[in-house]
Symmetry: D2
Subunit: 377 residues, 4 copies
């Protein structure tokens, strides 16, 4: 109830502070019999890991995940999977200034108002370091998805806008995503972004970003109508990532400006009785339930709030002052949000697959079965 | 778990289909001793009620709410409040066509894929009629907010875009909202929207919209860090409304294009030790927790999918066909989403007020207390 | 969170007061495609209905259940099933005395302490009338059990002790249960109970009881280890029934006095690879998980607290006084607890069947599959 | 949903296997600002720790708890408290026999039926070792109780029956509990139990037990009516402890044999307007809500299933065989269930204190306020 758990049937309970001894999570609801080892998790951790390019924080964390429970002889047992990541690079820094002042754009004042005290070391619980456990939990979710929905279910994310600069969708190439430090599928855009980010850093400033996450091969029928819609749960999932200010599905905000005709994705007969949609304004979700089309979600990340440029603020005594945040920070925190967004997508889909299996008993490659044609009369 | 409940401590459980005998909800977690009667609920129902202008469906529903439990001698008892709304205008229509064909943009195919059967009468459970119970539950939530947070907490919504046409924020006047059929705070924009909507209707088309909901007087400290952030729960709440495709908080998607300096809302000393923020890019929420600034949420509604213009689709037998939706439909379903968005804001805030009271024991006009200035040294 | 919901995946949300206009519940999580009508529910209501013998309250309630949602053309749609039961015999009684005094053994003082006010009419929410909705919800659960686990799963309850008088287990005959007004499987015992109860009533007193509920044909593997054990959830379910003071499974409290050898149910090879247990001290549950043996639960009901014999108490002003409860009351409230206990068993089993299906994907007639014998070496 | 969490607002999520690298839990919902360190937890761990007398298992575990998060400078921050206990004495034992055979009375067959595989090392997740984390979590709950309800709230447990031997309640002396290895408040009974237990061990047998847990100073008003009654949640809590087969509150099963007059606890005026009850058949709970009297719960523990005496069983291949369990086992597992029962009481009360504070806003030393006497007329 204090908000550190995510998911209903496939449930991640997260704990840990940026500069505590460790962070981690408990993943409950994992089906038994799945192969699982640290090797299934580490590659995803490495994608999010800090210190890999000059565009991300220089904090050095190996982010090695240990599985402490729930696996026996290489297979999940159906009991909770406890994951632990030690914090190693807790640089012995003087936190006295940020312990005294509220950093604008940060959660400092909000935590203080809520709890009456806070752990100021590296942002404590509000640090983006918490997202490491989402990626770890998401890796477990991917094992569930692979088992229940098959290899056709694939989740991929990309940066589609950095600061004010959008990519060109005509140049989209998924293969480019791993070739530049921005997870950008447009090689030309990535070059421009490098310059822009370098400039922002030199100015002691920072940039925002927009991320797109696409899930292919999602079976139709996932999502609960009314409140726990698939899109509603995805909106919550993405908005819960640090610094996110907006989420949209399919055409998103642009849908408001479409005509009814342009918005309604028409259907034709496709393979194996599966409908073929002529467009995907819906982003793969209608009435809160997946349709079998690609599930497409985008979210906006605000520019990093830790900037060198001095900002006006108050201290704990209510006195007016200024603060300038030095130290190791991502100039565009949106970059490393890409693997986090993918992980949240995996967590939501795994949860809804189990929910669908619970109530309806079907899952995976479930298709709509066209009825046999009625007899001629 | 099947998604018909909303909220954790202040919890609404919704039921009912568009053309069943009634719809309703159970509101659990209502604090005892609040005054509550149908008269507290009905005005909000009337704002959302269909058939009030030519711009909304001509279905005639009085939407009279009955309180069946949880109130004794005019006061809540702390036990569940059951609310019931009878469906009256279930026009004896022939549903054979939409029972056979999947309407593009509607939930027909998704429900069929999920459940293997569906109630086609008026959309069944996927109908926007369900939103009536949200408004009823939201009215109860407003009673909680008034009692716990005082009269300073005020929730208001407005339409800020219809189709491609935005209002002019310089002309924003909350008093205008009740003077036009669009909940539009810009009288001049409302006139243009009337023409646009009339044109869309004549063309058998429909328009989308963007709604903004603002909550003033929200105490600082509401929202749980990490997953159940206040903004994450608001994102889920709004995205769960029928036809919504995007949600944003504060600067929202535009935040991605801001510089770090422009995005970080600076603070100066205000009244009673409360900080005065120099801007509100954050939309009143930092780190998932309210700051005491106005909470500002916007969401995008797609154009109504029920349109006269014929669209290509499949029938239940997998055969290609067309469908044209006649009948009584809102040409812009976004208009009536305004009171629904307000209700969802009220539900989320009431829930988080109780959550804050549970864990921290404080609520209402909680302020950050500046520490006494340190002694001179 | 205010405790009016029961179950996780198959979830009943209950509402209503004894003398309000109606009581009811919302049943969420019902699998789609099940046949369901009022006729499936009414027979179970009739078993619990008051006014059927001189041993139960003379309040006259037809207890007719209406299904308001979730069913289309005779089949469940997967959406919430709303059930409503009107209160008809709310005798226009003067409640001023019990509104002023705390009845010993009743919830009056406890509600007052909790909420600061209460609905005194007929006990309000604390009335055993609420158990009618459990029976209604239990009837829906039975439809789920029949569909998922097959006709072999049968739930039956019996009164095994009234006041200090136990039945003779050697005379147990399930057919007798419906032939006497006590749900007693021992015809001879029933005769003695009739006299005892008549005597208690004449004395203005009341009797307690012990109920046993047996579920045959429960598949092995239901129940979650650690906290949501099948027996733990059954203990909660039964203890939540009005006036229950104790719950036990299998040998129950008597197990404490057994030797380790006598307690451990030995196993031999049975039919189809299914083990044959040589005893059932465990009551069909080991480690919180069903074993395929009969699930056996017993619970103790205290004597009715509404008695004619005057008892010392306080009034709302803290003044010492006495109270004697006149009116229509069951002299042994345990009798009508039999169908309620059966309903709670059905609710718990339906919930755990769906939970098992969610995580493990198996259900129903699941058997342990003996491995093929190892090859000779 | 897989049952490894306990509590709603004060929530413990448990993980770990008997012979994995560690066990632990995440405690969420802890109010901020409480002093908390390992020193608050360790004494309770030491009470439950194995290897302390010849009457408990000789497994040597220091059971040192580490706090990994949620505490800053000695105070809770309101964020999750992660507790970790390393497993040290995982004796390198040959588990091949119990991996192949189902031990009667153990969860082996049930786990196999549920999951299709299991971790046989020391019972894996079904081991009583899991109860160590309950005691750790219970220690955190005690800090909450001390802060919210004050020092008057005291939880104590005792063994009241070993095998068939009950203590003499007239000799009850709480001071004796820590003077014998059985947590027995009757010194004379303890001597007899020592002999009985020694005899059972020599015979390769084991004994059951009954434990009583008493909570004094519980404020009136805790517990949610209908399903989440305080007694229902306590019943679930105690029944969820390994090997428990029955739970009762107050008079418990004996209540069934009482007359209505004897059962109804009469009230007289006491101190400060607080009623004085003349008896406590109710065990401090009426209508599921605490009355301010002592909360009294008893539970029965079956004899240890790991016994030397050979028992008939099956192996994984369905072949009939026998098993005799050697190794380090408690001859009466009920002894160490005493601190576990106390911990479960603490967890339930802390949860319900927060729930009461959420909905009603009152807590702690809340008293019923007698109304001022009415004016003379």
């Amino acid at each position: 109830m204090s908000g550190n758990g995510f998911g209903e049937l496939f449930r991640l309970t997260s704990w840990g502070e940026s500069h505590g001894p460790a962070i981690g999570c408990v993943v409950d609801g994992v089906p038994p019999g799945l192969t699982l080892s640290e090797a299934d998790i580490q590659p995803w951790m490495d994608r999010r890991r800090p210190g890999q390019s000059r565009y991300t924080t220089q904090r050095r964390e190996p982010d090695e995940v240990r599985i402490l429970s729930g696996v026996f002889e290489g297979r999940t047992t159906g009991t909770p999977v406890s994951l632990l990541i030690e914090n190693q690079d807790q640089r012995s820094k003087d936190y006295s200034e940020i312990a005294q002042k509220f950093r604008p754009g940060h959660a400092d004042y909000a935590y203080w108002s809520k709890y009456g005290l806070r752990d100021p070391r590296g942002g404590g619980r509000s640090s983006a370091r918490e997202t490491a456990v989402r990626v770890a939990g998401g890796a477990v979710a991917r094992r569930v998805l692979a088992d229940l929905a098959g290899p056709g279910l694939r989740i991929r994310g990309a940066l589609v806008q950095m600061g004010p600069y959008r990519l060109d969708r005509d140049r989209w190439d998924w293969n480019e995503v791993d070739r530049n430090p921005f997870f950008c599928p447009d090689a030309a855009a990535a070059e421009g972004w490098a310059s822009a980010l370098e400039a922002a850093r030199k100015d002691g400033s920072s940039l925002g970003a927009v991320i797109e996450v696409v899930a292919e091969g999602v079976p139709a029928g996932l999502g609960e109508p009314v409140y726990d819609r698939l899109d509603a749960d995805l909106a919550k999932a993405m908005m819960s990532i640090n610094a996110v200010k907006g989420v949209e599905v399919g055409a998103g905000f642009a849908a408001a400006a479409l005509s009814g005709e342009a918005n309604a994705d028409e259907m034709r007969a496709g393979n194996e009785g599966r409908p073929r949609f002529l467009s995907n304004q819906a982003g793969g979700i209608l009435g809160g339930i997946s349709t079998g089309q690609d599930v497409v979600v985008r979210f906006a990340v605000k520019p990093t709030s830790s900037i060198l440029a001095p900002r006006r603020t108050l201290d704990r005594f209510g006195r007016e002052t200024e603060i300038s945040t030095k130290g190791r920070h991502d100039p565009c925190v949106g970059i490393r949000a890409v693997p986090v967004g993918e992980a949240m997508m995996a967590l939501v889909l795994a949860d809804h697959l189990l929910r669908q299996r619970a109530q309806v008993g079907a899952w995976g490659n479930r298709l709509w079965d066209p009825l046999p044609p009625p007899a001629e009369s």
